[in-house]
């Protein structure tokens, strides 16, 4: 692979490259239901969603939005370098929303023989409403001396 990311190249305060996803279509909920096995009709059936209080109909799977964040992360750090990834679901996403994933490097240190970088991530919609806050750590290679 070409542009390998090295521990030395990452600085605290650096931005995680942004990723824009969407606008989300209802069809994507159907795809995600089938892929993930989460068939809660809250995500695919407008009548059901309205009956349980969602006035605009279906809402996105939270895990789909976490998947967008995972896409943003592993577009930047190689998948095999990812050590930990956690999120808090802060708000509901609806079809039509466009999700912007961004993040910041908050710490880097060597631990148990690994060169770890720690980052915060956030997913917001086009109006700036926060859908997910989270963090991840990744073990990066050192440049060969």
């Amino acid at each position: 692979m070409g542009n390998e990311l090295y521990f030395e190249d990452v600085k605290i305060g650096d931005a995680v490259p942004e990723l824009s996803k969407g606008p989300i279509m209802k069809l994507q909920h159907v795809l995600y239901a089938g892929a993930s096995g989460d068939f809660n009709p809250l995500h695919t059936d407008d009548d059901f969603a309205k009956a349980v209080g969602m006035k605009d109909g279906v809402i996105s799977h939270g895990m789909l939005i976490m998947g967008f964040v995972g896409q943003a992360i592993t577009a930047w750090v190689p998948r095999k370098c990812l050590r930990k990834f956690g999120v808090r679901f802060a708000g509901m996403t609806k079809p039509g929303n466009t999700i912007m994933v961004s993040g910041t490097v908050t710490d880097k240190r060597q631990e148990n023989g690994e060169n770890l970088v720690f980052c915060e991530v956030v997913a917001r919609d086009e109006g700036g409403d926060v859908k997910i806050t989270g963090n991840f750590s990744a073990a990066l290679p050192l440049k060969r001396g």
């Binding site: 692979m1 996803k21 994507q28 795809l31 995600y32 089938g34 892929a35 993930s36 096995g37 989460d38 349980v52 939270g62 895990m63 789909l64 976490m66 998947g67 967008f68 995972g70 896409q71 992360i73 592993t74 577009a75 190689p78 998948r79 095999k80 990812l82 050590r83 930990k84 990834f85 956690g86 999120v87 808090r88 679901f89």
Partner: protein
């Protein structure tokens, strides 16, 4: 309603054979074009043994095994009042097509909290340590369920 006597309770193991097609399906559903998830040759060129699983793939064995609805029912959590509050993964080893992963869901904690608006909620954390066919730890998943009361 969940309660603290349920801490430590375990459920039937989730046993899941990881398939290349399911990995591709997950990447496509997310809309992730990263070739390592879609194409074995591209994955090998990038230093993997085969197509690795995307970071949130462990939701697949959890949901397809119907473990979550069983667990929610068994813990007497009101399905209509439950929210997915948090999800966290720790990754120990790569997971590839052909691997069989096994995990036993376990109730790690149950806490009652009061929101700023004064509403009471039960916070139930379910933890699953997945092992592969060689009995090696591959990943740990933590799910926080929030039951509004």
């Amino acid at each position: 309603m969940a309660d603290s006597t349920q801490v430590g309770k375990t459920f039937d193991p989730i046993v899941w054979e990881v398939e290349r097609g399911k990995i591709r399906e997950m990447a496509k559903a997310i809309g992730d074009p990263n070739p390592i998830y879609l194409d074995r040759d591209a994955a090998i060129r990038a230093g993997y043994r085969d197509t690795p699983v995307p970071p949130t793939f462990l939701t697949v064995p959890m949901m397809w095994s119907s473990s979550m609805p069983v667990l929610i029912n068994d813990l007497k959590i009101n399905f209509m009042m439950v929210l997915h509050g948090e999800e966290e993964y720790e990754y120990y080893r790569d997971i590839y097509p052909g691997d069989t992963i096994t995990g036993v869901p376990k109730v790690a904690s149950v806490e009652e909290k009061t929101s700023k608006a004064g509403k009471k909620m039960d916070m139930v954390t379910v933890e699953i340590l997945y092992k592969n066919q060689n009995n090696e730890d591959v990943a740990r998943a933590r799910t926080l369920l929030v039951e509004r009361k």
